[in-house]
């Protein structure tokens, strides 16, 4: 049912893009009108699904984590100022992936993106014919990319928590006993948590350092690993302006995403 809905949306991409570019300026006005609580929760769900779509497509395209993160961030940023009613989220997502590949210097071919996305909506179907329809689709993706760029005022590069997290992981590792470290999948868990955080708005709402610390904190807590503490806790050292409350807040937000998953699928 859902897939059908998505598929039909995929087909009207081209039309929508034309609409989208025309109504770009009205977009902010439209968004303000949408205030109903039920609708916003619906929107969150949609965004979650589209983000899932981006991440899944990223895996199928062989994208690294950082470009996927950029794609998700682009998507979130775009819909922070634009309305779901005006823009087709999946087309935006495809363009975000394409743009993220450019921003993070992992070259992705539009043909691959379109192929994978097409199959996402119609699982098991034959690949698209490379005909007029395909080229129109491709054009719409490229057009949408320009739209995103304009909407974001060409601010398309983000500082991601990924490298913070990795450096923190190294620092914490030398604090711990090496056997404890090698036995416990702290790094894996923290990395997965960080990647999962891109399903929602957590990734754009918080500082990258905070996100990284939260992911690491959660990973350490999950396995019950105690880090020696002096006058200051390890996270206090890593980032001076973070508080325990902040970590807890982000943590809750992050873990809600896992509940979202159950709701959305």
């Amino acid at each position: 049912m859902l897939l059908k809905f998505q598929a039909s949306r995929f087909c009207v991409h081209i039309q929508l893009t034309m609409q989208a570019s025309r109504s770009a300026h009205v977009a902010t006005g439209v968004e303000n009108n949408v205030t109903a609580a039920g609708e916003s929760s619906n929107e969150t769900k949609t965004h979650f699904r589209v983000c899932r779509f981006i991440i899944e497509t990223g895996v199928k395209l062989g994208m690294r984590s950082v470009p996927v993160a950029t794609a998700c961030s682009l998507y979130h940023k775009f819909f922070q100022t634009a309305s779901l009613q005006v823009y087709e989220p999946y087309l935006v997502a495809m363009s975000c992936i394409y743009l993220a590949g450019k921003v993070e210097e992992q070259h992705l071919r539009t043909r691959d993106i379109i192929n994978v996305c097409h199959r996402y909506f119609r699982p098991g179907s034959d690949p698209l014919e490379l005909d007029e329809k395909f080229w129109e689709l491709r054009d719409s993706v490229v057009q949408c990319e320009l739209l995103i760029l304009r909407q974001l005022n060409f601010h398309v590069s983000f500082e991601h928590p990924h490298k913070y997290l990795l450096h923190y992981l190294l620092s914490v590792r030398s604090l711990l006993n090496r056997h404890a470290w090698s036995r416990t999948p702290i790094a894996e868990t923290a990395w997965a948590l960080l990647k999962d955080s891109y399903h929602g708005l957590v990734c754009v709402r918080h500082q990258p350092q905070h996100l990284a610390i939260t992911a690491l904190y959660l990973a350490l807590h999950t396995y019950g690993v105690k880090v020696p503490a002096g006058e200051r806790e390890w996270w206090q050292v890593l980032c001076e302006d973070i508080t325990k409350a902040q970590i807890e807040a982000i943590l809750t937000e992050l873990l809600q995403l896992y509940d979202m998953e159950a709701k959305c699928t």
Binding site: R52, V59, K60, G62, R64, S65, E105, D112, I113, N115, V116, R119, G124, P127, L128, L130, K163, L166, H167, L169, L170, S171, V172, S174, L175, N177, R178, S182, R183, T184, P185, A187, E188, T189, W191, A192, D196, Q209, L218, H221, T222, Y223, G224, K226, P228, A229, G230, E231, R232, V237, L238, C239, E240, E248, L251, T252, L255, Y258, E261, T265
Partner: protein, 734 residues
Amino acid sequence: MDRDLLKQSVAFHGQTLFSLLKCEQSENPDFKHVTADLAKSVNQRDKEDDSPVVEQFIARKADLLFAPAWKSTTPGEEEWQEESQEPYAIMPPLEQFMDVSYNERRELFYRDVERGDVVIGRITSIRDFGFFVNLLCTAGGMERDVEDLEIMGLCPIRDVPSTGNHDDPLSYFHIGDLIREHIVWIYYLLSNTAGVKDIDRYHEKLTVSLYPTSLALNMERTKLGVISKEELPLHYTRGEQVTTDSRESYEMLLQSSLGFSNPSSVDYLLGMLGIGDTQSHSLMRGLQSKHFMEDDFASAIRKKQSASWALKCVKAGVNHFKSGRHVEAMNEYNKALEMDTNNVEALVARGALYATKGSLVKAISDFELALESCPTHRNAKKYLCQTLVERGGQLEEEEKLITAEGLYKKAIALDDTFHEAKEALRKLQMHIQKTLKLKAEEAAKEKEKQLTAETSAEKLRKILKEEKRMKKKRKRYDSTSETSSSSDSSSDDLSSRKKPKKRKHKRRRSSHSGKKHKQRVSSRDEEEHYPVPANTSASFINEKQTLIKLLDGENRAENRTLSHEKSREGRFEDDPFTRSPETEDRKVKGQNECFSGLNGRDKDTYRDRRRSEDEHSTQQESCRNARITSCRKDSSSSAYSETSRKSDSRDFDSRKSSSRTSDSRNSHSSDSRRSDSYKSGSHGRSEVREGNDRQISYSDVSKAWEGNQKKNVPTNLLDIFNQIAEFERERKKK
């Protein structure tokens, strides 16, 4: 599920987590196995500061979090690099910022330090049994700064490698001791045996070694020994920076670090930590790797798509081909193959196009490629067979029978019902047999040829015998002719005639004078033949040179034909080859043999001549000079023989004449031998010269060949011969 991990977690979170786990993982059979174990480890202590959200999360995701597969199996490469460049930000140890208490840090150090770790310390005192070091920091996997912990290590003397120059290995470090103010840094290695390690833990004593054998495997490359301040690990120097400037925070240091802004630091660190980046790494249920189908990946879809697109191109190409637009068809096929390099249909179609265009080799390679990726493709097989047979036919025409046979056999191997190939193979094999027979015959002929070559020598012998007989008759008139010729030659020398027609004439005359000289010498002493005539040499040589040039030009062509004809006459009729210099040589040798066999005296003279000739050739290194002399001799000898043959009714001493003839022959042979020696350089020329000589001699000697020869000799030469004949007649009258 990893039991120990789960235990640890449950112990940390307490009862609440355990109950949650029991609730959430009730359906997990793995969990049931460990439940009993877990129940024991749960203590009643419940951490109040833990949020229930986290516990809920752990409980829900426990099957993922504690799955053994979750921990990446490939441990990160913990290569410790001494290089100064940092691919990522190397940070000072965290505890330095955390202000962990002295005792706890000491405790932690002794807990975590292990055999094989690399430490860096400063020598504090040197004793007879070794030296003590104050540890500064550790290096390698565990990076800690222990300078202020006053941790001492002992390096016993047996763990100090001898430097070789000193009997006492410690003497090397005495120097270090002396310059301790300048700080001697040493890499130490903790080398505790199991027993020592225990002492370690409880008595807090460390033994270090400078022997690299006690290093852990991944640090084997580390050099142990004295180091300079620059070689200290980055985390230590950065840590020092922090202790001196307390305002410096971890964050600031990280931001300012060059490695942090390295765009590839993420990839590098992921490799270090052993995390694969492109595969799905998620705690989301929907993103588990098992949900990803291989068919859904971009590369797989692209491949499929390219294949179908390529097929479309092939179809278009076939249409082009059918309507005769071969270029367009080829373009389509190539396009298809560009998209899908191993597209069978495209390969077959292109092969067919190649075959129709006549590029059979390309066609065959295309068909073979197609069959490689799809061995059952019927069309490919059929076409390949046909093309192979066709190519075989081509090769047959090119006389490459064996290759052709191979192709036919290949075709039959591919399709044994293909009669055309069988037929072709049968024919070819017959043909091969035939050619083999022919070859055998040829070989037999070759043998025969060699036999006839010998007979030709016999023939020559006969001819020479006849010559001799004639000479005997001639010798009687020799004296009179000699005087007349000498007078003639002198008059010729005076008058310098420059016309090429006359040259020949003159040459003969001068040779006459040479001959006269020779004769005199030979009559006086037979051992010294052919000394260079003193008075005439200069004019001689010059004239001869021009003459030779002239003759070269004139006679080159006719010599060929002449020699050809001669060989044809002298040997067998069906010799299709032009005479090679080797056969010539052989023939001459045969002459030599027959002559040397004739009389012993001649043999001696011949030998002497040969010696002198050899000397001559060695003396005159220049090729041209040698040529000149040989020519002179040739001409003189030929002229001599010529006269001798002409005057057949003369009465003369038989012995002398025979010796002379042999001489002339010898000179001839030696000449040819020499020409052989510089065959590579002036092969043609020497041949020409010989031909020239021969021509002259034959023209005069054998009347039977005369008619034949006149056909080949150019008119000017004929004139010359006529003049000679006239001259001789005149002389007879005298």
